[in-house]
C-alpha cells in the first residue's frame, strides 16, 4: 500500500477487537459457577476484551470467541465464582 492510500495517523473504524476471533489463544478457559455468581459485573469491568457479555434479567456469560484466557476475571471475582480450566 502506498503512503497516499494509508489513512493518516493509522485511524481506523472502532470495534476491531470484536471483529477478531482470539479463541485459539487460550490455554485455559474461564468457567462461571452460576450458583456462586451474583452478577456483580466486576468481571465485566475488568475484562480487557469484549468477552464478558451482560444480559437483561440473566447473569453474565462468556463469549469464548473473544476470550484470550488471561484469567483476570478469575483473579478479580470476589466470590471465586470463576475458575480457569484446561482447554480440552
Amino acid at each position: 500500500m502506498s503512503r497516499k492510500e494509508l489513512e493518516e495517523a493509522a485511524v481506523v473504524k472502532g470495534g476491531t477487537s470484536s471483529a477478531y476471533v482470539v479463541s485459539g489463544w487460550r490455554v485455559k478457559r474461564p468457567v462461571i459457577n452460576e450458583a456462586k455468581c451474583t452478577n456483580c459485573l466486576i468481571c465485566w469491568i475488568y475484562c480487557p476484551e469484549p468477552a464478558i457479555v451482560r444480559h437483561e434479567g440473566a447473569k453474565v456469560t462468556i463469549d469464548y470467541d473473544h476470550c484470550k484466557g488471561c484469567g483476570i476475571c478469575e483473579a478479580e471475582c470476589p466470590l471465586t465464582a470463576i475458575s480457569m480450566v484446561m482447554e480440552p
Partner: protein, 386 residues
C-alpha cells in the same frame, strides 16, 4: 506593556489562545505556568478544562485523548517530566495530534540539578515534535501563539514545543507587549482533525501497523515536517501582519562575509550578539546565527547564511555523550557538507547544568574560534573546570 516572567507569558498566551484543555503536572522551573493557569481557572479568566493529573505520563496521555476529540490542547513540562512523557511524545506525533507544549529547559538527573540546559528536549529530538527555541520572554509569548496555528494547519498536524531555558527565561521578568485577544483569535484556526473521538462513531487512533505499512506512516510524518517549514514562514508572516513582530526560522546578525560566525540557540543567542557587536565596534568582523526553528531544521536557510562565513563555530547547550559533537554541530555540519561546502566547523559545548554564560564569555568564545587548529575533531567543552 507589562513585565512578565517567561512562564507567566506562556500562561497568558494559552489563556488568550482559547485553549480547550490543559493537562499538566508541575515541575521546576515550569511550575509557574501550571500555577498561573490554575489561578486563571479559579478566577474565571480561563474557561477551558484544566485536568490535574498524577504524573507527566498521565498529563500527556490526557492531552492525547483530549486532542483526539478535536480540542485545542496545551501542556507544559521540563527535564525529568519531559523524560517521563517520552513514550507519549511519539504517540502524540504518530497520531498527528496538534498539541502545543511549553518546555522550560532543564538539565537531567543524576545528579539532580534545577538549572538550564537543552539536554531534555535534545533527548526527545527525534520524537516528531516541531521544536522552537526562544531567546527572550516576548518571543516565548509570541511563539506560543504561533505554534497553535502552525501545529493545527491541515498540511502539518504535528505537535510542537516552545523551548526556553529554565530560570534564565522561565523566571526572568522582562517587558512584554501583550496582544489583544481579538486578533489572536482571528489568526488561529480550529484543529482540523479529519477524525475525532466520538462515542457515536468510534475510531481507533494509531491502530497497529505492520512492517508493510509502518515505514509509510513515518514517511507521512516526515512530509508533514517538511510542510511545516513553509507553513512556519506563512505563520510568521500572518503573525507579523497584526503584531508587527517577526523572528524568522533563523536570525542572522552580520553573517555575510564575517570572519567567524557562531551558530547558537536559545537565550545565549542574545548574549553572543551583544558580544559580537562590541567586538565589531572594536574592528573585528564576527557574526551570530541563531537557530530559532530547530525541527524541522531550516537547512537551506542555514546553508545560505553560512555560505559566506570564513569559519563557523557551533554552540551546543547539551552534551551528546559519546558522539563526535553536539546535536546542533552535527546538523550544521551535515547541512553544509550536503550543500558541498567544506568550510571548517568547530563544535563547542557550553552552559551545561545552568553554568552561566556572560557577554565576557561570549567574547572569549569568539576568541577561541580564531584558532581552528586548536579544535581538532572533538567538541571544546567551554567553561568546564579543571
Amino acid at each position: 506593556m507589562v513585565a512578565l516572567q517567561g512562564d507567566e507569558a506562556v500562561a497568558e498566551a494559552v489563556r488568550q489562545c482559547d485553549v480547550d484543555v490543559v493537562a499538566a503536572y508541575p515541575i521546576t522551573p515550569q511550575t509557574i505556568i501550571v500555577e498561573k493557569l490554575a489561578e486563571f481557572v479559579a478566577t474565571g479568566r480561563f474557561s477551558g478544562e484544566f485536568i490535574t493529573v498524577e504524573s507527566e505520563h498521565s498529563a500527556l496521555s490526557a492531552c492525547l485523548g483530549a486532542s483526539a476529540t478535536g480540542a485545542r490542547v496545551f501542556t507544559a513540562t521540563s527535564s525529568q517530566g519531559l523524560a517521563y512523557m517520552h513514550e507519549m511524545l511519539y504517540n502524540v506525533s504518530g497520531m498527528r495530534l496538534p498539541i502545543v507544549m511549553a518546555v522550560a529547559n532543564r538539565a537531567l538527573s543524576a545528579p539532580l540539578v534545577l538549572n538550564a540546559d537543552h539536554s531534555d528536549m535534545m533527548g526527545s529530538r527525534d520524537s516528531g515534535w516541531i521544536q522552537v527555541y526562544a531567546e527572550n520572554v516576548e518571543e516565548i509569548y509570541d511563539r506560543t501563539i504561533q505554534l497553535f496555528r502552525l501545529s493545527e494547519d491541515p498540511r502539518v498536524m504535528l505537535p510542537s514545543a516552545i523551548n526556553f531555558e529554565g530560570f534564565i527565561l522561565s523566571h526572568d521578568k522582562e517587558r512584554v507587549r501583550l496582544l489583544e485577544d481579538g486578533p489572536i483569535r482571528r489568526f488561529l484556526r480550529r484543529p482540523t482533525t479529519k477524525h475525532r473521538l466520538d462515542p457515536k462513531e468510534p475510531f481507533t487512533f494509531g491502530a497497529i501497523a505492520t512492517p508493510d505499512t509502518y515505514y509509510e506512516f513515518r514517511m507521512q510524518q516526515a512530509e508533514a515536517m517538511r510542510n511545516a517549514l513553509a507553513v512556519f514562514e506563512e505563520t510568521e508572516r500572518e503573525f507579523e501582519a497584526f503584531s508587527g513582530r517577526r523572528y524568522g526560522a533563523v536570525d542572522a546578525y552580520n553573517t555575510e562575509g564575517a570572519d567567524r560566525v557562531v551558530v547558537v540557540n536559545g537565550c545565549t543567542a542574545g548574549t553572543m550578539r551583544v558580544a559580537a557587536r562590541a567586538m565589531n565596534a572594536g574592528g573585528e568582523n564576527v557574526g551570530v546565527l541563531a537557530i530559532k526553528l530547530y525541527r524541522p531544521f531550516p537547512t537551506e536557510e542555514v546553508v545560505s547564511r553560512l555560505r559566506q562565513a570564513k569559519s563557523v563555530m557551533t554552540m551546543d547547550r547539551s552534551i551528546s555523550l559519546g558522539a563526535p559533537s553536539g546535536p546542533i554541530a552535527e546538523d550544521v555540519k551535515s547541512a553544509l557538507k550536503g550543500a558541498g561546502i567544506n568550510q571548517p566547523v568547530m563544535s563547542l559545548v557550553y552552559g551545561i547544568g545552568g553554568r552561566d554564560v556572560t557577554v565576557e564569555d561570549g567574547k572569549k568564545i569568539f576568541g577561541l574560534a580564531k584558532d581552528e587548529t586548536s579544535f581538532g575533531g572533538a567538541s571544546v567543552m567551554y567553561g568546564v573546570k579543571g
